[in-house]
Symmetry: D2
Subunit: 434 residues, 4 copies
Amino acid sequence: MQVNVQSHVTPSREHSDVNERQRRLAAAFLRVRAQTEQLAAPLSAEDCALQSMPDASPVKWHLAHTTWFFETFVLERAAPGYRPFSAQFRVLFNSYYVAVGARHPRPERGMLSRPSLDEVRAYRVHVNEQVATLLQSDDVDAGWLELIELGINHEQQHQELIVTDLKHLLAKNPLHPAYLPPPSATASEAPPVAWIGLPDGIRQIGHAGDGFRFDNEEPRHRVFIDGCEIASRPVTVSEYANFMEDGGYRRPELWLSEGWDVCNSQGWTAPLYWQADSVEPTAFTLHGLKTLNPAEPVCHLSFFEADAYARWAGARLPTEAEWETLATPRQIYGNFLEDRRFHPAPARMDDDRPAQLFGDVWEWTRSSYEPYPGYRPVAGAVGEYNGKFMVNQYVLRGGSCATPASHIRATYRNFFPAAARWQFSGVRLARDIR
Amino acid sequence: MQVNVQSHVTPSREHSDVNERQRRLAAAFLRVRAQTEQLAAPLSAEDCALQSMPDASPVKWHLAHTTWFFETFVLERAAPGYRPFSAQFRVLFNSYYVAVGARHPRPERGMLSRPSLDEVRAYRVHVNEQVATLLQSDDVDAGWLELIELGINHEQQHQELIVTDLKHLLAKNPLHPAYLPPPSATASEAPPVAWIGLPDGIRQIGHAGDGFRFDNEEPRHRVFIDGCEIASRPVTVSEYANFMEDGGYRRPELWLSEGWDVCNSQGWTAPLYWQADSVEPTAFTLHGLKTLNPAEPVCHLSFFEADAYARWAGARLPTEAEWETLATPRQIYGNFLEDRRFHPAPARMDDDRPAQLFGDVWEWTRSSYEPYPGYRPVAGAVGEYNGKFMVNQYVLRGGSCATPASHIRATYRNFFPAAARWQFSGVRLARDIR
Amino acid sequence: MQVNVQSHVTPSREHSDVNERQRRLAAAFLRVRAQTEQLAAPLSAEDCALQSMPDASPVKWHLAHTTWFFETFVLERAAPGYRPFSAQFRVLFNSYYVAVGARHPRPERGMLSRPSLDEVRAYRVHVNEQVATLLQSDDVDAGWLELIELGINHEQQHQELIVTDLKHLLAKNPLHPAYLPPPSATASEAPPVAWIGLPDGIRQIGHAGDGFRFDNEEPRHRVFIDGCEIASRPVTVSEYANFMEDGGYRRPELWLSEGWDVCNSQGWTAPLYWQADSVEPTAFTLHGLKTLNPAEPVCHLSFFEADAYARWAGARLPTEAEWETLATPRQIYGNFLEDRRFHPAPARMDDDRPAQLFGDVWEWTRSSYEPYPGYRPVAGAVGEYNGKFMVNQYVLRGGSCATPASHIRATYRNFFPAAARWQFSGVRLARDIR
Amino acid sequence: MQVNVQSHVTPSREHSDVNERQRRLAAAFLRVRAQTEQLAAPLSAEDCALQSMPDASPVKWHLAHTTWFFETFVLERAAPGYRPFSAQFRVLFNSYYVAVGARHPRPERGMLSRPSLDEVRAYRVHVNEQVATLLQSDDVDAGWLELIELGINHEQQHQELIVTDLKHLLAKNPLHPAYLPPPSATASEAPPVAWIGLPDGIRQIGHAGDGFRFDNEEPRHRVFIDGCEIASRPVTVSEYANFMEDGGYRRPELWLSEGWDVCNSQGWTAPLYWQADSVEPTAFTLHGLKTLNPAEPVCHLSFFEADAYARWAGARLPTEAEWETLATPRQIYGNFLEDRRFHPAPARMDDDRPAQLFGDVWEWTRSSYEPYPGYRPVAGAVGEYNGKFMVNQYVLRGGSCATPASHIRATYRNFFPAAARWQFSGVRLARDIR
């Protein structure tokens, strides 16, 4: 999960006009910070305090942790005489940076009624002002600017988590509370699937150039791809319902062995948030209970479900190299966080290009999350960002309806364990050329 | 946990002046309901929403559940044309009354950011008004009056739980937040222990007469007591510290076998809330961190710790029959909820009577919680109140600093599992006459 | 669980003829040791090595542990120059005697393919010879004789556990293997239940006199009993099947709250070992699968099931004082280990006295396992025998078809947790006189 | 885990002399079956019955399951009129073939004292005779021959598991029992590490040609490899001890995040089987406790430990493509099951080629276990062999001292979860060319 701010920030390395760069960075900083606060605006202090599972965090914690990031990695070191807003927040709002020191245990993030939401908002104001002041000073070292840019991208990742963690919490409530009123209606049919061929050969994947990227997107390197075909759009609710009707959740031969065990021990019979015993597919959404549009991409699937669906359909998941090869030349547009729809929408019918590569739903790939050849984590505590998670996770690509538009790009690697379902995660099929 | 409202409510059964009884009951109702709200008054909506463990509930849940009790057991049946405040609250705020229908799962009480605290307060106002109206009408059937009286006592039990559950939650917060400012200082010495003899013979225990009592206090019946002696006051912090210094938490021969297993698996080295590595005994309290007064009764002990301490001291826990025999003739006074101290205080030095039988700390007895001979639960759903918990629990007597004064009496039986520590539970010693 | 050897051992304390006492004890020792070995005789080394759950032990472990008891508590201290058979067995075969030193973890008793069954048999021979030699010497101190008598009774308890732990293991095997061929058929009707009245008043319970007893049976003391009635025989399979047909396992109002939780989490729908989906009650027995005789006492019930059945039947469980009062004047006869039936048999029809108080099935009482007034554990390591288990256990009385006949008596207190089902545990009803 | 029988079996597909092929296959079948029985020969029935953890199986189960494989997949279908040895064994000894029907639960394989070891041996004799008879008949369809060849390779995999599961069981025994007497001493110094370069470019990996291979080794396909260097031999005990002395198990920055969690929750401070508190590295082996030779390859490492060691050493794990590229041209020789050493030995000093690529210890790679491009499982139940495990596992290469020599080859892919340690798993380093 992360974002590219290249639309607002000029390239950093060759550009000489530091002041111009600082100015643009300051604008991006304030814009993204305000966007986070806007996400929390419709919520009560109670909504922001609760934690629904160890993997999710309270909204208040996200608001504070993203602020802690700027305070710890930038202000404490770059701003002369900076005094932390609260010494105790250093521990309370550290997520997993071992090098920074002690952390409050993750499963207990929901035990903190204090500091209050109002105090956390004051913390944000304090840090916003300090960072803004820093960015107005002369000669800010490029290293600090890079950390601020990292912090902005980090905050965009947490914007997505605010949305998905909130959804998980509200879904626990039998009252089915809504975060926002329902969005406008969408088309009721999806375009037919076309299969887009990729010929075999050596390709290059990974990030190149000057824009922002996370360390896990580097280095750019060569891979060999066998010829294959990739579907023009993600699998829809209607298609997934066919799988379910055909016994998809009752046929072990369709599943990976571990997936079948998880499916049974968790009692899965449908994607997360679907309501049992409804005639038409109905699910909890951020707008309350909703009859799903059959044409929209199915989401809240685990890797295991995506894989089982693909096997049932006589296909497979794409690798991340295949996905990136397909996506690289495409323009980034789609249904993103800024659309405030917070739910996938059907692909447009009048489009013969690959649809919905970006936005709507993250797409599980068959690739485990591993270091690219020659990968080297950033030095220092921020080096704990990506590399240490490179085991037992699978890569997702393309962003979702909860991803900020400026955060996604073709080389972006998101990753989750194979059983995770609370992100807006769907599936796009691939198949070998025989 | 429960209370006796006999000081404000006239005896129910023989008295003919029903209006007078209704008038008194209405006053008690409003007084107790207001007292509950006063307990929550210093708390934020966030404080009231969180749940720190499956055995504890959010304050907001207590506020709503006590209200649900009146609505479900009284208003829905006794008030003609009563319309529930919210149909969904019937499920959300049912605790364990199987006969009433579905319940929200106990460990998920902390998942409910909605209804908001404000809505729950409105729910209270609504039900308060309706019950008050009912009590102003003529000829309310005595059965309803008894249920209202039960509801008042039920609410007093939850007042105590609000205090203890809140303490458990705040203790999870590394900021050590205070509920209230610290109370006034207390005497620094406790009176020496005297041993009060009880001769052998048949005694009667259990409730008799007209005042309110829970069904588990009945019927009054005969027991045979062997001669014994009971300590004049509970064990103090200072005495308990001696046990700890003598290896109390490291010597299995002092413990029941199951207690020793729990002690090790939970890593107990001191009573709950004590801070490790402090020179003087220091503990989290409802006033934040506090150096404990050596003369005050030790509390937040499990049955297992109370039992191990007694064995170390060459004594034993009293049985509930012994305790009740000692306490029956004594006046009820002590450090109660209304004192707003929310922490035990030392016994008074100038007192040669048994001290602190009521208030300060609940006293573990050696008696498992079992039905009295001839016990019969009340008919209907309120019959689920006590009887179904009569297994694997141990009886505590006397009330604590979180118990409302009008709620306690000599026949009152509180009960918790042997490993529970989050109540204000202490220990008074007994010994056989050899 | 334990036995009284008073039939073969003359009273110890006043009797002056020590040699006669030693001679009788030696005979009892050899008889009981041989009986244990006879129990294992039909079993393979594989049968004896496996452990089916942490609460059960392999037969081989029982064979060794009972031997360890004599070696550790008698030979090492009383036999001059005694050399332990194996230094490592001291740790391997210690059960729970903390004072003796380290123990092999209980759940790993089934990890020991070495020592082999043959080595353990050699260990038994070695210790048998040494104890026999000791008992032939002059002037053995009375303390050692008492420990040998304790060891004999201890071994009888493990005889019962060999039977019940073996049954639990064989029941895990889908082949339904038999320990022994089926016993002869039994009568197909049980006598009707009569209710035997006990008037109220002070009674004495607990052990008195010179015969062997465990410390938990002492001291004899007075209790007050309210008037009640007790059923003349235990509940039968046929009666229990009526409870099941009436929804006994689906109606929470019949159960203690904790019992209902256990019932659901464990998926109980019948007593342990009953086979699902058979038309007539069918269960795994030590003779393989067997259609149960409707007239035989139902067994393998937990306390929770016994209690729920009693509530359904409009009755309750007896207290241990009531049970002992009823049983004290009765002769001890019944279906015991020596009958080698290893399964309960119906009560005899021609009998108008209380039937089956001893043997067939242990009878759950409503009494939690607690120290009698003035109870004092034996000094030293053997003092860990009983007292430290006196919490969260319930008392059973009367012995079963797996109890040695000479081991049971009216004052005998067995105890297990409320959810335990793998003993031959049944239920006899009681009811208040209204 | 698996083996190649190409040395004894002539290529299957083009060869026309079926009788010659059948003759060779029959010889291989009997040789491998006898080898399995020889492994169990030093063990008692007790040794063969126990199960030390859910992931390991009793030796008796391995003896039976490998036999079940031939019975179920070959005899029942290919041998006219074949009558199963026991209908119940079909369920008891099915491992994970869902398509074949019900299975005995894996964690309960150690609950089966029946059938006895002798009965299982009779089962083996029965099936051996029937398969031998089948292979003497004319015109056995090539499909059956392929299944027999698969069964032989399957049995070789279980030979390795017999060794590693037995070691895990014996290690649970505080007596440190030996499987076999200690092997001869080995050289006390390892050759220095040389780094062998692999230039970048497209390579082909995966199986080609006619010999036996598992489906997961196919299809042969192209990969792009970046230039790198691979160590000439595995990491030794001495080198690993340096990592430990340098705080390897206490420094989170060296570990993957999940690895660090496992390390702490499991309390790892050394490789599996190492004894705490010994001055020199000492470990439990199949010859009892042994001071380890500093020059021998370290083994019983998890992927997490191998990865942490590599990070500490400034290197990384090789990918499976790199490993296979290095190993493909090398001759297969080393310390294998047939050496009956069952413990790794130091590399030979006089060797300047890459050492120990085969035998001694499996080598963890950085590659998650995934399907090769175009992978297609075999049809039918044997298709459950490999593909369904391709998630959350990591690939190991090269075989170990418990692998049959004829079973390993350069394309062979073994796989285990990242936390598994009970195989003979070690580590060979790789590094990028900078």
